[in-house]
Symmetry: C2
Subunit: 592 residues, 2 copies
């Protein structure tokens, strides 16, 4: 037997018992006549004690050979500690060891196995099995497991059936790039890995499954930005005979249930905001509403007064950084301006108006505007003494995006974005279509299966080009703390409406038939009204645990930004026989 | 609102209520002055009634347009039925419809949506969304979902953490053929889809996760026999600091729990049988122990009496088909012999001995053996009047396999293999290595990470070639009703032992390092003793529900024997741009 207890189990009431523990050597302190060793497993740390005069010479010498991360099995008696450690649950006891078996030795690890390690990102990825021994990572994975259990528990009780959809499906050029899988039995043909089970879950609704869910791996062959992964996990759901209201209510209750069971937090009803309002007030379709600092449009107040930059701008817009007037010197403002001018954001400049504690008004555009003008701006924001307005101008869409970045940065600097303060929000009424100037075509704002709102269907079937831009969809996103957790829509269930949508998106009849013929076919055999949504599971776990969207520590074996698994060293070359069987040849581009 | 109730909800106590239902039209009976329509959803069937004199002409005419599989929403009042249907839970009531909305029309389905459909396999695969509306398929998928919920519930309570391992991993030529995925970012290199998360779960043990599980998709690019799928699902588990006994006990309790919660069945302790005993008594490492009919070795009794076929055979072996002597005419025996001689089985002949109810003894080898000889054989089997011995001879391994087929066939014919009679069995002590005469090399009987039994380790490190054939492993399979549900082993956790095993399996040091270097590396940093197992989840569900191993109806979207998804028509050609991005060219073989 390897153990009678785990390393987190023993307490004062076990004193006197003979126990067996197994685990890893966290570290030792050798005092010469006695030795302390910390033994660690997933469940905790227990202190072992070897006293020279009480143990055999052989055992004592063996204990001295123990290095960090050795795996041992010990037998011993639980003692009350003289000097207790109140910081760990087993801090009142220690084990006087009578028998020690070394189960495995260990080389010295390349970084320390502590909460805060000294290992860099690359080495931790390569030695992921050592990184996984660190408590923060284990806690992340255990938290993830718990959220999955509770998600399934909630959805099962609500009558959802978990159905596994296939991983080997068909490539569709719409959306992101597919990973493809050559077929050996169907030479020259390829499967694709699913970017989401979208069409399959709709097929399940046509198949009468009524309520479907799945925690499912999805795949996108995108150039990896920080914190994107080529494979990720979704909570994927679909329901029949429902309206948008039914779906929002169901998944609002799921979210509340998860925060309750996994974090002990209670939420009231989630606020809702239209897409238009979110863009207007926050310049983002995923606003962080932990703090206000809403945008105010200054077009009426700031244009036509002779300041050419504003006069020529499509939009003049500002935020009020409350109480910041005295915190920002000219040098600080200059730095902030430079931060806004970095290519990632691309602002041309930044205008401020400071309302001093002494009643003064100062502004970088003071020579173009009278003090009364500036005070009128202040009134628009409800600014008080000590407040500072930050103002951007330019082309409307760009300027709103830039202002969004500035608002978030100021929120962070002002400590308004507390990680454990959770503010969920539904963003609703997304546009159905997005006009892309470059390619001169419409893109689906959500995806090609999203239904226009009922009141817009008639306009969609019969309207002109401009009308299409104004169509609104029954589409919605859940946002928590500025992180998009997921979203969904009511789907089209009518073949003609779906054909019209493919048409607007630039599919020829033949393309639509080749790629989605099975779905259009299914719509001819009694497709029910249906809709659904998907949450990014990795991101949900990250946000719930850390208040932020960084997912890498919530994935046991993540890939790096080049899509490589550093530990197993994949992808890799394959054998020529494998290529031959697949009828494939590799044509690498010339190096020069 | 689409519905106040589901189609399986309404009972006598709802009579008089106004309700709204949505669903599919199962069928209608038009009596002229009134019309009955069955409305179906996942939850049941409710009878709608339209009475001409009580409803508007418009509504009545609309009801007459309803075709099979139309999707409708109806409002109406719950009435008590005059002629009740005791076969369905809603059989006491019907709905007098006051409002009818046709939500979608349907073409006439290509097969009937009934429990027993008239659709062939191919058309049902193509129109899977219609097949899925059939109750047996919905029940299979719901059962599967339930088994998954209970599996997760049990393992979570036992302290297992569900960890998702990656789908994009590295190709290893060991075992079955991998599906590979070309990498765009690492040109000329490939990921592979996992045949199982074997190495990752071992890495998780090295990482201190202690108890891992996952319901996980696995992939094998094999030529598909009936009832094999290129993607399938495993209940995958691994534990640290455990012996074989711990693992068998844990998963025996899981199996008992699943049968209890999903079938209401109680099992006692599962019997165990060694691999050697299973081969000896049943000629199979997955014996169906719902019935006896064990093999008896007749070498001593039947050889050396002048019958050349037996005299030259390595093995003479028989079974006793109790009570069958009078049921098998010479013609029946001839047919059975021909059945055994089909190429799939390949027996040369079949010898019988019948003990007639009248006390007579008859045998096809009567001229070589005296009645006393034959009676002595009968005694060996404990044969009574009316019993019939069936005897095969030849090369030992082949003959045992043939006899296994015969035993199963006779068990089926004699009604001894009742689908809802469940007999689980642990088969233990598998050989570590299997010698392959053709390739003149050892194969791993389980997989290359399986540990020899502790008492065999010394012999493995230092023994000669013949010794290797006799090594036994801590490896085990769970078998139910002759279907292998899954298996596992205690793993090697010592680098030297693992290297020795790779060596025996014919890996060069370089090959072992290139493919499993990360695992060998991990073993140098304090790998704990560990072991685990995996159950085939599709098969477990099939066996639990139907008593048989046929999995296709337990997979929502299965592929056919050519690996094709008939509904979405995958795999398919991809665009040249996709191939170019992946630096791939297709070289199809010449057709001639």
């Amino acid at each position: 037997m390897y153990r009678t207890h785990k390393c987190g189990d023993l307490r004062m009431e076990n004193v006197g018992e003979e126990v067996i523990l197994s685990g890893w050597v966290q570290g030792s302190r050798d005092l010469g006549y006695m030795m302390y060793t910390d033994l660690r497993d997933r469940y905790g740390i227990t202190q072992l004690i070897f006293i020279e005069e009480n143990t055999s010479k052989e055992l004592f010498e063996k204990a001295r050979t123990l290095g960090r991360e050795y795996v041992v099995r010990v037998k011993g008696t639980v003692l009350e500690r003289k000097s207790k450690n109140p910081n760990i649950p087993t801090g009142n006891i220690e084990i006087a060891v009578s028998d020690l078996e070394i189960l495995n030795v260990s080389k010295v690890p390349p970084f320390t196995i502590e909460n805060d390690t000294d290992g860099g990102e690359d080495i931790r990825m390569k030695y992921r099995y050592l990184d996984l021994r660190r408590k923060p990572l284990q806690e992340s994975l255990m938290f993830r497991s718990k959220v999955a259990v509770e998600t399934r528990s909630f959805l099962s009780k609500e009558g959802f059936i978990e159905v596994e959809t296939p991983v080997l499906i068909k490539s569709t050029p719409e959306g992101a790039r597919d990973f493809v899988v050559p077929s050996r039995m169907n030479k020259g043909q390829f499967y694709a890995l699913p970017q989401s089970p979208q069409t399959f879950k709709q097929i399940l609704m046509v198949g009468g499954l009524d309520k479907y869910f799945q925690l499912v791996k999805c795949f996108r062959d995108e150039d990896l930005r920080a914190d994107r992964q080529p494979e990720f996990t979704q909570i994927d759901c679909e329901m029949s005979f429902v309206t948008q209201e039914d779906i929002l209510n169901t998944f609002e209750r799921l979210t509340q249930y998860l925060f309750k069971t996994c974090k002990g937090l209670d939420f009231g009803k989630f606020p809702r905001m239209t897409y238009d309002e979110a863009m207007e007030k926050y310049g983002s379709d995923k606003p962080d509403i932990r703090f206000g600092m809403e945008f105010h449009n200054l077009n009426d107040l700031a244009k036509g007064k002779g300041f050419p930059v504003f006069d020529s701008a499509e939009l003049v817009v500002g935020i009020n950084a409350e109480g910041q007037a005295e915190n920002y010197s000219n040098k600080d403002i200059k730095k902030l301006t430079e931060w806004m001018q970095r290519p990632q954001i691309g602002a041309k400049g930044l205008v401020y108006v400071k309302f001093g504690n002494d009643g003064s008004v100062k502004s970088s555009v003071g020579k173009f505007y009278s003090e009364d003008d500036l005070r009128a701006w202040g009134e628009e924001f409800g600014a008080k003494k000590g407040d500072m307005l930050l103002i951007l101008s330019g082309e409307e869409e760009k300027t709103r995006k830039q202002m969004n970045e500035l608002r978030l940065e100021m929120g962070t600097r002002m400590g308004l974005r507390k990680p454990q303060d959770f503010k969920p929000l539904w963003v609703v009424d997304f546009p159905l279509l997005e006009w892309d100037e470059d390619s001169e075509r419409f893109h689906a704002m959500h995806h090609p299966f999203t239904s226009p709102k009922k009141e817009d269907m008639e306009r969609m079937m019969n309207g002109d080009h401009e009308t299409m831009k104004s169509l609104r969809a029954d589409a919605y996103d859940l946002v928590i703390n500025g992180v998009e957790i997921g979203g969904g829509s009511i789907r089209i269930h009518d073949k003609d409406l779906q054909s019209k949508n493919f048409d607007l998106l630039g599919f020829t009849k033949e393309e639509a038939e080749a790629q989605f013929g099975f779905l259009l076919g299914a719509f001819e055999y009694g497709a029910p009204p249906h809709g659904g949504l998907a949450f990014g599971f990795d991101r949900l776990c990250a946000v719930m645990m850390t208040g932020e969207g960084a997912i890498r520590d919530f994935i046991a074996f993540p890939k790096n930004n080049q899509g490589r698994d550093m530990m197993i060293d994949a992808p890799s070359l394959i054998h020529d026989e494998q290529l031959d069987e697949l009828c494939l040849a590799i044509n690498l581009p010339d190096e020069d």
